[in-house]
Amino acid sequence: MAEKSWMYAVLEGVQQEMQQDPKMSWIFELTPPVASNPGMPVINLETEFGRKRVVNTGIDENWMASCVLGAALAGSKAATYIPYQGALIPFEVIQNVAGKLRHMTGGKATPGCVWVIEMTGQTPGFAGQHSCYEEDSYYAHIPGVRTVIPSTPYDAKGMMISALRSSDPVVYLYPAGLRTLQGEVPDEAYEVPLDKAAVRQEGNDLTIVSSGAGMPGVLEAAEKLTADGMSVEVIDLRVLKEMDTETLVNSVGKTKRLLTVDQSYYTLCPGAEVIARVAENVEGVKFKRIAFPDAPPPASPEMFTWMRPNAGHIIEAAKKMV
């Protein structure tokens, strides 16, 4: 156990699986699978496993995503890292082929592979294709694909290992903004389940639900709200598909107030699904939703920073609800 960065934790998980499974491969295009961490050995998958298993390709994200699917169908585990500008380029093959394969063949296909889909850093100064607030919802509407979005280095490693061991295809959303987050991460391989939300803090007055890049702001807000005497329950979805309804319903059944927070465009953000599930199952709830507006992120830091949901927004909204 040591303090590790998210980035290192993820690659450590991949490395351990590749050591176990000599058939496994990794495909990348820009970002060589290299990570370092103070006091730990540098991980470099390319030099460790060679260029037949760890492959640097051209700018063709659809090929990368299709390739790991084809590897799965041939009985080899493979994973690929799709950088954010390419986050939706492989969408069709994941949505229309991979997600349907097992079902449409009556269970005969074996499409288990992993697509690491980077979500932009969501920092000021970029725009358009370089700062996106959307991948989560697109991927979460697909049946037959498990879509996960860890928010801590611990989960990032454990869910990567579970994803690589799963016989289902997994979209592993990778919020680039969390890449340098630090946390205690076991050295050995371990799994974090691909179908459970995590209750990050217990409370009775209000349930706040978020995921991925939304979590740091939520945790910051929850700390301040708690200090101000509010009893806040914080749920980190972690899994968008299949969403863990039970944890949500249990929590809001208790608090009767639900605030969702997403770093995703408002319309059809994950929070919409959270609210709808709770609304169908719990009566007499007060709802509020915080999300990125239905507008692309502009480059100007002044405009961007004003738009991006933050701890301040969450605190104010929570105070209005309780």
């Binding site: 000599p22 058939k23 491969s25 037949k52 298993r53 492959v55 390709t57 051209g58 063709d60 659809n62 090929w63 299709s66 390739c67 790991v68 699917l69 084809g70 590897a71 799965a72 169908l73 041939a74 009985g75 080899s76 493979a78 069709e92 093959v93 229309n96 082929v97 097992r102 079902h103 449409m104 063949t105 009556g106 269970g107 005969k108 296909a109 074996t110 288990g112 049946p143 037959g144 498990r146 799963s166 016989s167 289902d168 299949e242």
Partner: protein
């Protein structure tokens, strides 16, 4: 474009003699209707002429003939059922006319053994010929096409998505575009794990225009993948001639541009297809990378189902429901039917002294009977259980019903 033209344009490099007067150099009969084989590119080393069929034992050659007949009679039986039996619900994208392509290619592959050793075939939206050639169980395939719960895929797949990995038939694909790229992924895995397996993808002329075409060939070349791309150029995608979407006369020219060995073969002659496939498979197993084979061929039915067909007759004529931009002329259909893959394969076997007419006819009767029994069995299979729809979304468990609110 007529076949003759194509042939002329592509016979520039190697003028191999036709299959029917080749094997064992036993006979040199000149048989009318014989085609000229064309191996467009790829030099043959050390006097090796690439006529691999010379080494095939009789039973293997007879198997190829039998496979062609199975595909043909599966389709004719199904077409008749579609035309005559209103209670029959199955359908197909018929492959009749193209049988020699799937048969010749799959005859060069490893089709049994453990999954980690057999070659894999990716099919298209026109899969039943590829499936039979790769060796799927015909009765369960027939049951699948009529949505039976004991069908090859439990009634989930129907025609356009059949799959049986146990014989390396990865399966049909409803899409134009993705299959070749995914197939290259299987080839990638073979190379990464140092297996000598080969991945084959069958794709129509329509697939040329898809952007995936570039991805597939570019990466196959860059990484030397053991991939065989079999382009079945039957001249039309849906109801448009391929010249609407491709500036090449031979699609193989596009593949050759990547530095990939690319051949044009007569897709009506199973021996020529086999020869080309065997060359490609040997190259791929030896680490020599991908091959592109363009088989010039033709489908006798229309794009989908049996419109324009008559019960008991082969082929479909004169169906033009939609003021199509360019519809294939009936004379073109009839011209192609003169070079029928069933006839050609039969003549070759007789010419090579492997069968006589009587035995050839007997085999055809056996196959017809086998197919008839397959349909009989399949039509008695149980229908699906509705709730099973919620299975197989993930490897384990079921998903919740949501349609009731």
């Amino acid at each position: 474009m007529k076949y003759e033209e194509t042939n002329k344009a592509t016979s520039t490099e190697v003028d191999a003699p036709s299959s029917e007067s080749r094997r064992g150099f036993l006979k040199l009969a000149a048989i009318s209707g014989a085609a000229v084989s064309v191996t467009k590119r790829g030099a043959l080393a050390n006097g090796e002429i690439g006529f691999w069929a010379k080494d095939l034992p009789d039973d293997k050659l007879i198997d190829m003939y039998r496979t062609i007949l199975k595909i043909r009679w599966h389709e004719r039986t199904q077409a008749d059922k579609m035309l005559a039996d209103p209670s029959y619900r199955g359908y197909n994208h018929f492959y009749a006319g193209q049988e020699a392509v799937a048969t010749g290619v799959c005859a060069a592959l490893r089709n049994d053994g453990p999954f980690e050793q057999i070659d894999l075939v990716y099919s298209s939206h026109r899969p039943s010929g590829h499936a039979i050639a790769k060796g799927v169980d015909i009765p369960t395939m027939v049951a699948e096409m009529d949505f039976r719960s004991t069908g090859m895929n439990g009634g989930y797949a129907a025609e356009m998505h059949i799959s049986d990995p146990s014989v390396g038939f990865i399966g049909a694909d409803g899409m134009i575009g993705p299959a070749p790229v995914i197939a290259s992924g299987s080839a990638f895995a073979f190379r990464a794990r140092e297996s000598d397996q080969v991945a084959v993808v069958f794709a129509g002329d329509g697939n040329y225009a898809a952007p995936h075409f570039h991805s597939t060939l570019n990466n196959a070349k860059l990484l030397d993948l053991p991939l065989i791309y079999v382009c079945e150029n039957n001249l039309y995608h849906q109801y448009a001639h391929y010249s609407y979407s491709c500036p090449h006369k031979d699609i193989s020219d596009a593949a050759a541009a990547y530095g990939i060995p690319a051949n044009v073969v007569d897709g009506q002659d199973v021996v020529q297809v086999y020869n080309a496939a065997k060359t490609a498979v040997d190259r791929a197993r030896a680490g020599g990378g991908p091959t592109f084979i363009e088989a010039k061929t033709y489908r006798y039915y229309n794009h989908w189902g049996a419109p324009g067909a008559k019960e008991g007759e082969l082929g479909a004529f004169g169906y033009d429901p939609l003021a199509i931009t360019s519809f294939r002329p009936e004379r073109e259909v009839r011209a192609w039917m003169q070079r029928d893959p069933v006839d050609i394969s039969r003549k070759i076997l007789i010419d090579w002294g492997i069968l006589d007419e009587a035995r050839a006819a007997e085999i055809e009767t056996e196959v017809k009977q086998e197919i008839a029994s397959a349909f009989e069995w399949a039509m008695q299979q149980p229908l699906c259980n509705p709730e099973d729809a919620l299975k197989h979304v993930f490897a384990e468990g079921t998903v919740p019903a949501r349609q009731f609110g």
